[in-house]
């Protein structure tokens, strides 16, 4: 264990408290600490609410603030939050224009947000956008959809910017869903995750192995293979992403190179450089690129590449001002 997080059950609350204390100009705890919210709400704006298990920080709480989320609900490590948290967030941040829930496509997240939405149907107008950007989606027999991974932050940023401009609930939902075919991510793990409660590794990689197509819960990926050089790793990530993106005329490509928690900036920028080189070979020049640690899987070593083919309008939403603990521009 290379870990401070001994007892996960209390550590998540402690970590959230540390987060709120570090950013008290922007965020505050909601009622009973059930969620984290913007310090100041904008009346009449659709409330943008997201959430998921802990262990993915800075997602989602790090994206609360002007131009992005209004509230985020954090569950236990890798465990979706419970409906009471989501209900409380809706009650506290809906200023009349309704709530848009941004949910990563995991059965647990989908079901908990859905139960909350059902329970609050009499007192809030609610729409849900499910994020499914993972390109690690082989010839599987899974009955419904891809995972939501690092692309989630793109959805949250675009919807947040649109909500700030006064876009209504139905239009926001349409915007979020319209994006789904043009947003893909693919991840590689070079070292697995040790779960804090049990000190058990979810999957153990040998020093000469890597796992391609991993998600963000330490779950095994699409396939395991021998450790390749960085150029080859980048190719293995980019090819499925490109193959699955719906083409778009006049697209503004947005590139995100995201670290999983245990990979330092020097390596992320190396991967970014190699990714640009690979994309250049495919005739793609990113209109913007974001490199950093945004959507983690505890301390997993590895990274993901996200590509979004944005329309000019969507790209303007990406570039619109944002003031959150994690993104400021």
């Amino acid at each position: 264990m290379t870990r401070l997080l001994h007892a996960a059950e209390t550590a998540v609350a402690q970590s959230l408290a540390g987060f709120v204390a570090a950013h008290e100009d922007l965020v505050a705890f909601g009622v009973e600490g059930k969620f984290v919210r913007r310090r100041r709400l904008t009346p009449g704006k659709v409330a943008l609410i997201s959430g998921g298990g802990a262990g993915h920080e800075p997602l989602h709480c790090g994206f609360i603030g002007t131009g992005m989320l209004d509230a985020a609900c954090t569950g236990h490590v890798f465990t979706s939050p419970t409906p009471d948290q989501i209900l409380a967030a809706m009650d506290e941040t809906d200023t009349g224009a309704g709530c848009l829930l941004v949910v990563k496509n995991y059965d647990g997240d989908v079901m908990n947000f859905e139960m909350a939405a059902e329970m609050a149907a009499d007192r809030h107008r609610i729409e849900t956008v499910i994020v499914e950007d993972d390109a690690a989606y082989g010839p599987s027999v899974r009955s419904r959809g891809r995972r939501g991974v690092a692309g989630t932050m793109v959805v949250e940023k675009l919807l947040g910017a649109a909500a700030e401009r006064g876009t209504d609930l139905a239009e926001l939902k349409a915007l979020g869903e319209g994006l789904s075919g043009r947003l893909r991510s693919m991840g590689v793990a070079l070292r697995g995750v040790t779960l804090p409660d049990t000190a058990r590794e979810t999957f153990a990689l040998g020093p000469d192995e890597m796992e391609i197509g991993v998600g963000i819960h330490g779950e095994p990926g699409l396939y395991r293979t021998g450790r390749a050089g960085p150029e080859e790793i980048v190719r293995l990530l980019c090819e499925p992403v490109l193959a699955q993106l719906s083409p778009l005329a006049d697209a503004r490509p947005l590139l995100i190179v995201n670290g999983f928690g245990g990979t330092p900036p020097i390596e992320l920028h190396l991967a970014h450089n190699l990714t640009r080189a690979f994309l250049r070979g495919q005739g793609i020049v990113p209109a913007r690129a974001l490199v950093g640690t945004f959507v983690t899987s505890l301390d997993m070593a590895g990274l993901s590449v996200t590509l979004a083919l944005l329309t000019p309008e969507e790209f303007a939403l990406w570039c619109a001002p944002v003031t959150t603990p994690t993104l400021v521009w």
């Binding site: 890798f78 995991y106 009955s143 419904r144 590794e201």
Partner: protein, 204 residues
């Protein structure tokens, strides 16, 4: 089959104890094809119910079951929370609306169907439903408690060779084969615990 407050208190205690004992094993099963938290999740849920056991047991059975479901939903999180919660809440609601002599098996069938709707899943998807369906069938067939327990354990084991189509394991494709589903395993464990209690305290 009737349950008084003492039975319910005892059952809550037994279920909590069994989950505690198998917490590590359930986590290990979930690590193999999921994210490793199923044991911790179930323990958190049963602890929450256990803390409220006296208030719950004092309620009429249908209300008590619905309450247990709600406590599970609000404490477990993850996939298991809404699924076990829906099962118990629907069971409670079914018993409440049914006539005095309503068929328990029919009510259970409706609750299992609600779980399937909640999970957008069905038989053979390698989930706890693969235990719930056969258990419901045995109950409908008036099988003895120990027979039902055996069936539940076999059903859980049978998920080992299934290819997961729902839950986190479904992202693994072929690699999900060869591991017992953690949700099926916890479901069989709870079913067995309840059946054994009924066996030992033969219905009056």
């Amino acid at each position: 089959m009737t349950l008084d407050a003492a039975d319910l208190t005892a059952l809550i205690g037994l279920c909590r104890e069994q989950i505690e004992q198998h917490c590590e094993r359930l986590g290990r099963l979930d690590s193999a094809i999921g994210d490793g938290d199923h044991g911790a999740n179930m323990r958190r849920g049963l602890e929450a119910v256990y803390r409220e056991r006296d208030a719950i047991s004092a309620l009429p059975l249908p209300v008590a079951l619905e309450r247990i479901g709600l406590v599970l939903v609000m404490s477990i999180g993850g996939a298991a929370g809404p699924l076990y919660g829906t099962l118990l809440m629907e069971l409670g609601r079914g018993l409440a609306t049914g006539e005095e002599e309503a068929d328990f098996a029919a009510i259970l069938a409706q609750a299992v169907a609600a779980v399937a709707r909640r999970g957008r899943s069905g038989p053979g998807d390698k989930t706890l439903l693969d235990v719930l369906y056969p258990v419901q069938a045995e109950i409908a067939g008036h099988a003895a408690p120990l027979r039902i327990a055996e069936c539940a354990r076999n059903a859980a084991q049978a998920t080992e060779m299934m290819l997961a189509r729902r839950g986190r394991a479904s992202y693994l494709g072929e690699r999900s084969i060869g591991h017992e589903d953690p949700g099926a395993s916890s479901c069989a464990l709870l079913a067995t615990t309840i059946c054994q209690y009924f066996q030992e305290h033969a219905p009056s």
